[in-house]
C-alpha cells in the first residue's frame, strides 16, 4: 500500500472492486496527493459520492466520514450537511451520470448557491457499471451498447453548465495529466465556494472495448491524450479536441452558501435584539 493510501484510506476497503486498468483508483491517489500537500487531515474532509462506477469504487475508501447518496443526489445531501457542518472541506466524487445527467439540477443549483464543496466529476463517458451505455458526455458518433449506430444526440460540456450557473472555480483535466490535476484540485479545495473539476478517464471494459475497439489501458489513455492535444500519434488531426486546464477562476470572490445563511441569521438576531430595546 502506498504512503498516501496508508495515511488517508481504509485498509479494509482497498483495493476497490474496480476493473483492471480502471482510472478511478489512480485519480483518487491524485486527490490524496492534493489533500496531503494542503496539509489536510482525515477529519477535515467529508467524502461524498453517488451511484455508478465512481460512487461504488470510491465509497467508504476515505478514512474519514463518508456518504454515498442515491444516484445524482450527493449535492442535495451536501446542501443540508454543509449547513450543519460548515467548517469541513467536502470532496464530492461523482461520475458523469451523477453530475451531468440524473443530478444536473442539483449541480446547477449548488453552483448557483456557491455551495462550499469541491465536485470531482470523474467522467468515463458513459454508464459503464450498467454495461456501457452512452451518457450526455459521450462524444457524438461513438458506439456504445445503447448507441450501436453511433451516439446521435449532441452531448454537453458540464464545465460550461456550472460556469453559467455561477461556479467560482471550474477546471477540466484528464487521467493523462497527473501533476496538472493535483495542482487544479488544490486550487479547487482552496476556494471557499463551489468548485468543479472535470476529469476524463478511460473505461477499458466498456467504452474502450465498444467505442474504441480495445481493452488495452495504455491505448485508451493514449486516445484521451490525443484528444487533449488535438493530434493523433501519427500526426493527423484528432476528430475533436478537449481544451483542458482552468476554465474559470473566481475563487473566494463571492460569499459561500452557508456563510450567507449564517450572516442572514446574525442580521435577523441583531434586528430582534434592537426591537426588544
Amino acid at each position: 500500500m502506498n504512503r498516501l493510501a496508508k495515511k488517508y484510506l481504509r485498509p479494509s476497503q482497498i483495493p476497490t472492486k474496480a476493473c483492471h486498468g480502471c482510472g478511478i483508483g489512480m485519480i483518487e491517489n491524485w486527490l490524496l496527493q492534493a489533500i496531503d500537500e494542503m496539509g489536510l487531515k482525515q477529519d477535515d474532509v467529508i467524502f461524498g459520492t453517488g451511484i455508478g462506477c465512481v460512487g461504488r469504487q470510491t465509497f467508504a475508501t476515505w478514512g474519514g466520514d463518508n456518504f454515498g447518496a442515491t444516484h445524482g443526489r450527493a449535492l442535495a445531501v451536501a446542501t443540508g450537511l454543509k449547513l450543519a457542518q460548515p467548517d469541513k472541506k467536502y470532496l464530492i466524487v461523482v461520475g458523469d451520470g451523477d453530475a451531468a445527467s440524473i443530478g444536473t439540477s442539483h449541480l446547477i443549483h449548488a453552483a448557483r448557491r456557491n455551495l462550499g464543496v469541491t465536485v470531482i466529476c470523474e467522467d468515463n463517458m458513459g454508464y459503464e457499471s450498467t454495461g456501457g451505455q452512452f451518457s450526455p458526455t459521450t462524444p457524438a458518433g461513438y458506439v456504445t451498447n445503447s448507441s450501436p449506430y453511433g451516439m446521435v444526440e449532441p452531448g454537453f460540456d458540464p464545465c460550461d453548465v456550472v460556469k453559467a450557473a455561477g461556479a467560482t472555480f471550474v477546471a477540466e483535466t484528464t487521467a493523462t495529466q497527473w501533476h496538472q490535476t493535483v495542482k487544479i484540485v488544490k486550487k479547487a479545495l482552496a476556494n471557499d465556494g463551489f468548485s468543479f473539476v472535470h476529469v476524463r478517464f478511460p473505461c477499458n471494459e466498456n467504452f474502450g472495448a465498444y467505442a474504441l475497439g480495445t481493452r488495452d489501458t495504455l491505448k485508451n489513455l493514449e486516445w484521451i491524450y490525443e484528444h487533449t492535444q488535438g493530434r493523433k500519434a501519427d500526426g493527423t488531426d484528432a476528430d475533436f479536441t478537449w481544451e483542458t486546464g482552468i476554465k474559470h477562476d473566481a475563487s473566494n470572490s463571492r460569499p459561500e452558501f452557508s456563510r450567507l445563511m449564517r450572516d442572514m441569521n446574525a442580521r435577523v438576531k441583531a434586528d430582534m435584539k434592537a426591537k426588544q430595546k
Binding site: 465509497f59 456518504f67 454515498g68 450537511l81
Partner: protein, 412 residues
C-alpha cells in the same frame, strides 16, 4: 370539551394528553394548521427546513422561512422535492433536526430520499398535506390517497414506517413534537399525513410559552462510536449517526455492515432487514395513538382519520341520538397499523376520502370478520354528518349502507 352524554365512554390515547395537562402557561391563538405544524417543529428543536412550495403545504415553507432564522436555523428553498428531502437528510446527518413539507406530487418525488433515510436510520419529519388526486387533482380539496404510499414510502421492501395523522389544528402542534420524538428514538423518517382541511383550517390553538422548558422533547444525541448500524438488533434509543465529528461513519444506499460498508451477502441483508423492521414492530406499544368513543357497547363502529374524522365523529353522535348504539375509532397512528383497535366482532364502517378504498382494506384484514367491514368512500369533500349517521343507521338496522349520492361502498 366533551359534547357527549356521560354514559358514553371517550378515550384519547396519545402522549400529548399529559403534555397539555402539564403545560398550561402560554398563548391562545386563532391560527392555521400549517402554523401549528411549523411551531410544533420549532418547539421540537427543528433547525432546518428544506423543501419546495406546493399547495396546500406552502404556508409551512413560508412560516419556516420567517421562524427558522429567528432561532438560528436554516430555511432552504430547493430546486425540487428530491433535493428538499435529501438536504434534510444531510442536515440531520450533520446533527440538526430537520423537516420538509409537501403534498402528494412532491411526496412521491421524495421517496428516493425516504428510502435512503430509512436505510441509514436518519431521523426526519415529512409533512404530506394530502389533496384529492390522482396527480395534481384539485389543489384546494382534501384527499386521503396516500395511506398506502406513506406505508410503502420507498421501493425495495424490507422496512416499516411510522405515520401519524392529526385531526385538529391543536393536535397538529402536539403531534408534530411527537413525530420528532419518534424520529429520534426510532432513528427513522416519520410522516405526518395530514390533509388540505387541517392544513388550511384556522382554529383555536394553545402554544406553550417557553419551548426550552418542554421536558418531553427528545434532544438530538450523536452516536460517536461503532456500531453505527446495530444490524440484527431491535434496540430503541440508539443515538443517530453524525457526519463531521470524525467518527468515520459511512452512510450509503447499499445494504450495509455495522460499519456502514456496502456488502452483497445474504446474512448482511437479513441482519439489516431484521433491524429496520423489528425496531418498529417490537415497539408498537410505544407508537399507537388513537381516539375512541363508545366502542365497548357499540353495535356498529365508524372508523376514520384526519379532518374527515371530525364529521364522522359528529355523525356517530347523531346516530346515537337516533337510537343506534354507534362507536367511533379515530386512528392517529396509521402505521404501524393498530390491529388491536379492531378486536370487537361488530360491523365497522370505514369512512375515507377516496373511492378506491385504502384504510378499509387494513380494517378488513385486522377485524375478526372482514366480511362485516363496510366502506363509505367520498372524494374531494368531507363526509357530511347526515351521510355518516345514515350509513351507521343502515348497517345497524339492515346490515347495509343505503344508496347515497357521492358515496362509494364497493371495495374490490
Amino acid at each position: 370539551m366533551s359534547t357527549l352524554a356521560p354514559a358514553v365512554s371517550e378515550q384519547l390515547v396519545a402522549p400529548w394528553v399529559e403534555w397539555a395537562r402539564r403545560y398550561t402557561r402560554g398563548r391562545r391563538l386563532l391560527e392555521a394548521g400549517t402554523y401549528a405544524l411549523t411551531e410544533g417543529a420549532i418547539a421540537a428543536g427543528c433547525r432546518v427546513f428544506a423543501g419546495y412550495p406546493i399547495t396546500p403545504a406552502t404556508d409551512i415553507a413560508e412560516y419556516m422561512s420567517k421562524r427558522l432564522p429567528q432561532v438560528g436555523g436554516y430555511y432552504v428553498q430547493c430546486e425540487d422535492e428530491l433535493a428538499g428531502m435529501h438536504a434534510c437528510a444531510g442536515a440531520s446527518l450533520g446533527g440538526l433536526k430537520a423537516m420538509t413539507a409537501t403534498s402528494g406530487p412532491g411526496y412521491t418525488l421524495m421517496h428516493d430520499a425516504y428510502g435512503w433515510s430509512i436505510t441509514n436510520e436518519i431521523p426526519l419529519v415529512v409533512v404530506d398535506a394530502m389533496r384529492v388526486g390522482p396527480i395534481s387533482g384539485i389543489t384546494g380539496a382534501p384527499g386521503q390517497g396516500e395511506f398506502y404510499i406513506a406505508r410503502y414510502a420507498s421501493h425495495g421492501g424490507n422496512f416499516e414506517t411510522i405515520v401519524l395523522s392529526p385531526s385538529s389544528v391543536q393536535e397538529a402542534f402536539w403531534l408534530t413534537i411527537d413525530a420528532f420524538n419518534l424520529a429520534e428514538r426510532f432513528r427513522t423518517p416519520v410522516t405526518i399525513l395530514t390533509d388540505q382541511v387541517i392544513s388550511d383550517m384556522w382554529e383555536d390553538l394553545f402554544i406553550p410559552e417557553d419551548y426550552d422548558a418542554l421536558d418531553f422533547v427528545v434532544p438530538r444525541k450523536n452516536n460517536l462510536m461503532m456500531p453505527f448500524y446495530p444490524v440484527g438488533s431491535a434496540d430503541l434509543d440508539v443515538p443517530p449517526n453524525v457526519i463531521g465529528h470524525g467518527t468515520g461513519v459511512c452512510v450509503s444506499a447499499y445494504t450495509h455492515t455495522e460499519e456502514g460498508y456496502d456488502i452483497e451477502e445474504m446474512e448482511a441483508q437479513w441482519a439489516q432487514t431484521y433491524r429496520l423492521i423489528n425496531k418498529i414492530r417490537h415497539h408498537r406499544d410505544q407508537l399507537t395513538r388513537y381516539e375512541t368513543v363508545g366502542v365497548e357497547d357499540a353495535d356498529v363502529i365508524a372508523v376514520a382519520y384526519g379532518a374527515n374524522a371530525r364529521t364522522v365523529k359528529t355523525g356517530v353522535l347523531e346516530a346515537r341520538r337516533r337510537g343506534v348504539r354507534a362507536g367511533f375509532v379515530r386512528l392517529i397512528t396509521l402505521w404501524p397499523f393498530p390491529d388491536e383497535l379492531f378486536e370487537r366482532d361488530v360491523p365497522y364502517v370505514v369512512c375515507e376520502l377516496n373511492y378506491d378504498g385504502q384504510l378499509v382494506r387494513e380494517v378488513m384484514r385486522s377485524a375478526p370478520d372482514g366480511k362485516k367491514v363496510r366502506f363509505m368512500g367520498k372524494s374531494a369533500e368531507l363526509h357530511t354528518v347526515a351521510e355518516v349517521a345514515a350509513g351507521l343507521e343502515g348497517v345497524a338496522r339492515t346490515g347495509r349502507i343505503p344508496e347515497l349520492p357521492y358515496i362509494w361502498t364497493e371495495v374490490r
